[in-house]
Symmetry: C2
Subunit: 425 residues, 2 copies
Amino acid sequence: MSDQNPRLVIVGAGFGGLRIARALRHASLRITLVDRHNYHLFQPLLYQVATAGISPEEIAYPVRAILRTQRNLQFKMAEVEKVDFSARIVSTSSGDLPYDYLLLAMGGETNFFGLSSVAQNSIGMKTLDDAVNVRNHILRMFETAVHEPDPVVRRSMLTFVIVGGGPSGVECAGALSELTRLVLVKDYPTLSIKDVRILLLEALDKVLPPFPETLREVAEKTLWNKHIEIRFGAEVADYDEQCVYLKGGEVIPAYSLIWTAGVTAVSLTRRLGLPLGRQGRIIVAPTLQVPARPEVFAIGDVAYLEDGQGLPLPMVATVALQQADTAAKNILHLLKNKPLENFIYDDPGSLATIGRSSAVARIGHFEITGFIAWFMWSVVHVYQLIGFRNRLMVLINWAWEYFLFERAVRLITPDPEKTKVVPPV
Amino acid sequence: MSDQNPRLVIVGAGFGGLRIARALRHASLRITLVDRHNYHLFQPLLYQVATAGISPEEIAYPVRAILRTQRNLQFKMAEVEKVDFSARIVSTSSGDLPYDYLLLAMGGETNFFGLSSVAQNSIGMKTLDDAVNVRNHILRMFETAVHEPDPVVRRSMLTFVIVGGGPSGVECAGALSELTRLVLVKDYPTLSIKDVRILLLEALDKVLPPFPETLREVAEKTLWNKHIEIRFGAEVADYDEQCVYLKGGEVIPAYSLIWTAGVTAVSLTRRLGLPLGRQGRIIVAPTLQVPARPEVFAIGDVAYLEDGQGLPLPMVATVALQQADTAAKNILHLLKNKPLENFIYDDPGSLATIGRSSAVARIGHFEITGFIAWFMWSVVHVYQLIGFRNRLMVLINWAWEYFLFERAVRLITPDPEKTKVVPPV
């Protein structure tokens, strides 16, 4: 690549960052992609790592392996500390990166809504560390409970509270129910399955808010069939590792709280000095440019843009992927002094799985449930995984699980350090 | 199982502990198997985890899944703290276990020979955490070196010193050479492969001491062909994370020291108050009983027994497996008041691999090298892995690696806590 070419720095190797890097592979740019990890994480399957279905290595793929053939790009594993928008310099934990164009695609993190006891004592579901922590914790609870003589304590150890009725919470609850009722029941024959409780707490009165009414009811019924106790209108006030305290006074004794109730843009956005919308997302123009900084773009979970109805675009992979395409085009237009395009979101629909042979899907105005939706979900997710080997490995694990009612990866490994959480302001 | 049956406590779910648990599955015993992990670890492939070839989950298998169908056994995940041999009680981190018979099979750990700076700053190769730490460290060195302007520092970052010319050290050196020369060279096109140095330090004047002379020479030649610098008569005196100091004054600047130079019985053996042989191993009679404690047996790496020539039996899996069979018979004989058998080791030979299509094997008086030995090594190791799924996964990863010159698992994940080391007395 020519030393004369303009420099583009992309922050984040998630869905959006990787997509735009690939889209600009023939551009006359010197691209630097920065991420604090050396891998791309396929977040939609995190809940399967958390419930011992697949191993962490199967949903993470080395960034250098993906972008190795791209000659106009270099990768840097580093933490971004700050950005000097006037001098056009990104400061990282391993040196400064000057830029001509900047694309921010750092993604989201768990939102604990300022509940510091929950942030400290519960486990989120956004990072690979989170998922491994959840897996270790669940299995450790069973290993401890099996030798616990006090029935009250034992029941607390086997009570798993999942907060959040969105796709993450629903998928996690469904998978956890199957892990306990199909697999762990065989591993711990002396434990009574009736001591195991899985609760799904939702502050509103519906699960899966982005889905149509009929699909939400199907999902709800499926969850009940899996012995998951759903509580609507349940808001967590406090958690001390032994009891969950709800607003209204109810107390649920539980040694496990899995928090999927909220997402916010990564905390870095709050330190950039840019105008923010809800959830700490950077306000962008329809061209995805940051106002007053035409050379700076933001996409995906870190970008705040409203749809035609005045609602913020959802923090999902499809938005990030489509915005990456628009941002790529607009950067090329800037290079050629052509007018920029506005981003318009084309909603491809929604998919969520609730366990074996069970899922709900909305594609346009079509609603699909049951085995066919589950099969679609599986195909879509395996197809999106990066790398043939990872696809094959995940398929083998799924087949294993499906036909043998077995989970392969129920290992208790050393706990990764808990992801540090900066409560949103 | 009857509450009247005698209680057998097995400490350790390694090769020996698992084998005897299985061997006694029809015995009229109440067996408790204790291990600090909930998985059995297939140690012979640790070096492949360390060099990003396979994922940790592929060489670990949940103990409960292995022994689920065994009705006279329960598993307890706990750390053994002490044993009261008079009262016949094993004290663990989660309660006391009274026993009528006790089998000690806790295995070995890394021996740093009292070199505290090495114990603190180097990485061993005995646990799953060790292997993940080595993998993370190697990849992190490459990620750092690629942005390091100072050529002297960069060379230190890319110098990997492996201590110990036994099978672990040789296998690790070979695999690391292939990882760097076949895979990482593509990931880091701006780094010069000539900056990468791999040194194998051996205190004696030969690699692979258990092998015959001719095979050792083949191995040595193969290592040189893989650009591994072998140093004979090299003894490490000190290591400060930047330089390796050898006895005799030589200093090797290196940010990485991988220590495979010694094994000792786990430190617990030193706290039991039993007579110990070399390497902290518990002295046992030829019946594998601890002297003066006929109800206590020790096998494998924690047992000290000499062969016909007065040499201690090697700390290898085959000894542990064969001793497990003898100990199982002797426990049954004790139950029936029959005379006990003496253990005689039947050496099946040795196998070590040095990389792609390259290995050395001794079976009886036969010596085999090259592709055939490598193929034998592969078959033997895949066959010994527990669980069809793990075998399949490892085979896929190997095929991947073999045909595509690719390593699948080169992720930098959070470092597990370094295994605590109690220097042997």
